[in-house]
Symmetry: C2
Subunit: 353 residues, 2 copies
């Protein structure tokens, strides 16, 4: 069997035992609170893990782009939520093709988007499920008030080929109460109009263990929970020992006493800081700081670290943000402990549209 020493660096390692534990822990939590999970596959982009999520009890998956949904449908996934405004003739045609094959639902946050969907989907016997996206504090997409959600729901419900399926939000991390308030108000207002939502879909890993506190929500879409990362650990979702994705890198230079250069730069770790100091956590070197990245070099400041790695030494790095790392590598290497199980292509990598 291959060991980690046989691998060329930089490379992405995914620890299968940790993946399984993270998936099981979240599903147990969801089951305990009777809150269906609809995991977001953007983190792993791998059909095998999407299937495992469903085996464990997930009601379906979430994809962020049509291209991801197409890959997952090709791999046999039959229930996909695409919480995105699908715009333009070509994308609407692709959505229609998916709708012919699998159960797919989308979101809208404006009349413009609903109009496009209504023109494309006209069959009252095979309606497209459309949820209204709500901005409950994130400041990204979404209608701004519960009343605007009702108005858009009415427009959806009035279109012969569309079914108003409910509400969706991606909440701001930490704003559990604001999120709950918005959704409760919208739900009540919808019910008053005879438009009770089938589903109220909430999301995110940072507040995963508080998902049941958003009482209005009827499903949750965590993504990063499968791998976790330095940011999620900082948010308290798990520990460093739960992180399943690491980048294996080699120290290629030790120009000074307190500087080490590794062969993993922004092409391996990305420049995402998510507001944190540095570009990742080096396993076994808690006081070493990754202070700079160029494309193919990472610069480590060892001034605070008594332990100093030598040239040629291999380091495992927990990235700040696992999802964006998955998107950089054509392949990831699945491991169990220190043994290599298999290297697999990241099937939905780079699906930007």
């Amino acid at each position: 069997m291959m060991s980690l020493d046989d691998l060329e660096t930089p490379i992405v390692l995914v620890d299968l035992d940790r993946v399984e534990a993270n998936l099981q822990r979240a599903q147990d939590y969801a089951d305990a609170h009777k809150l269906p999970l609809r995991p977001h596959i953007k983190t792993h982009k791998l059909p095998r893990f999407a299937k495992r999520q469903i085996e464990l009890g997930a009601v379906g998956i979430t994809c962020q782009k049509l291209g991801e949904a197409e890959v997952m449908a090709d791999a046999g996934i039959t229930d996909i939520f695409l919480p995105y405004n699908i715009i333009g003739a070509s994308k609407l045609a692709r959505l229609k093709a998916l709708h012919e094959r699998i159960a797919i639902s989308v979101t809208a946050d404006s009349s413009y988007v609903v109009d496009g969907l209504a023109r494309t989907f006209t069959d009252p016997n095979h309606k497209l499920r459309v949820l209204v996206e709500c901005d409950t504090g994130m400041g990204r997409c979404g209608v701004q008030t519960p009343w605007a959600a009702v108005e858009l729901a009415q427009q959806i419900a009035a279109a012969p080929g569309l079914h108003f399926a409910g509400l969706m939000t991606y909440p701001a991390a930490g704003k559990v109460a604001e999120n709950e308030e918005f959704l409760e108000k919208a739900k009540a207002a919808l019910e008053a109009q005879g438009l009770a939502p089938d589903v109220i879909s909430n999301g995110g890993t940072p507040d995963l263990w508080h998902a049941h506190d958003v009482g209005a929500a009827s499903e949750h879409r965590p993504g990063t929970y499968i791998y976790l990362d330095r940011f999620q650990v900082a948010k308290g979702v798990g520990t460093l020992d739960d992180c399943a994705l690491t980048v294996l890198a080699t120290v290629v230079s030790r120009p000074t006493e307190n500087r080490a250069i590794i062969d993993a730069g922004s092409k391996a770790l990305t420049s995402d800081t998510l507001g944190m100091d540095g570009f990742g956590y080096i396993v076994g070197y808690p006081d070493a700081r990754i202070v700079g990245l160029s494309e193919e070099h990472g610069t480590i400041d060892l001034s605070g670290s008594d332990k100093k790695p030598a040239i040629g030494e291999r380091l495992r790095i927990i990235p700040n943000h696992a999802c964006v790392v998955s998107n950089l590598f054509d392949n990831v290497t699945l491991i169990s402990g220190d043994e290599v199980v298999e290297t697999v292509p990241v099937a939905a990598r780079g699906r930007v549209d």
Copy 2:
């Protein structure tokens, strides 16, 4: 002929006329100063542009990783400089295989690296060319003093299968004088030891038009000059109208008066700020600011912009850093004016090792 309106977004556009003008301008400058160019292909990762750079007069190309060099060698490029510390049995074997096929040279900045090269390359009749990397102010890899460069050069020259070929630096932007001082001192010290360097290779686009001020340098390795980007424009290397690479995106949401959301996030533009405010420049909207990116959404603040784009409108964005954008997309679309010429795979994308 296809027009930009026929393309799905987000997508990377590369303007061939601007590419040609940027390449020609740099080659003219280099010719005027009798300074050979050895362009870095990390920016474009496309064999066709590497070949064009050579047709215009470049003496060879630069790659940052073995995988990039392998792609370029497969495409017919015969002279490649790989300014990287190649470490480990597997990578040394790949380097050896390249050395059998093409003229390849590498760098070293420590005895550890030289030892590995010396063990692998032992044929005095087919020596590997090795340059000493010098840290002239960048704070990344490289020997720290001119005297350390001499010491390492002696070690290289003493190895039967290695040829000491000279010095290499990637200088800190703006530190032209410090760079020149280091290289002049090292050159003089080497000559005093009978180790006159064949080549002193300097790099970078930010100081491209000052490359001839580094009198010790005998070649220059610009990379980003082919496309330019928002950072290089800020450095004064060119204007916004010279930027050849743009990301075409669609406005998918206008949740508030002053917020627009586009379908290009960090998976299209990357989180690289390079110390600048925001994540790119929107052509035609000089006062709009891209203030946030999540993976598939870009958030634009329009509060300072009288002109406000509508949902469905397409925007062209000059990214902060063109090289990292090239690495995200499997394909780029070559254009001339507003006409689509061809969509081509980014052959050396994702070659991380």
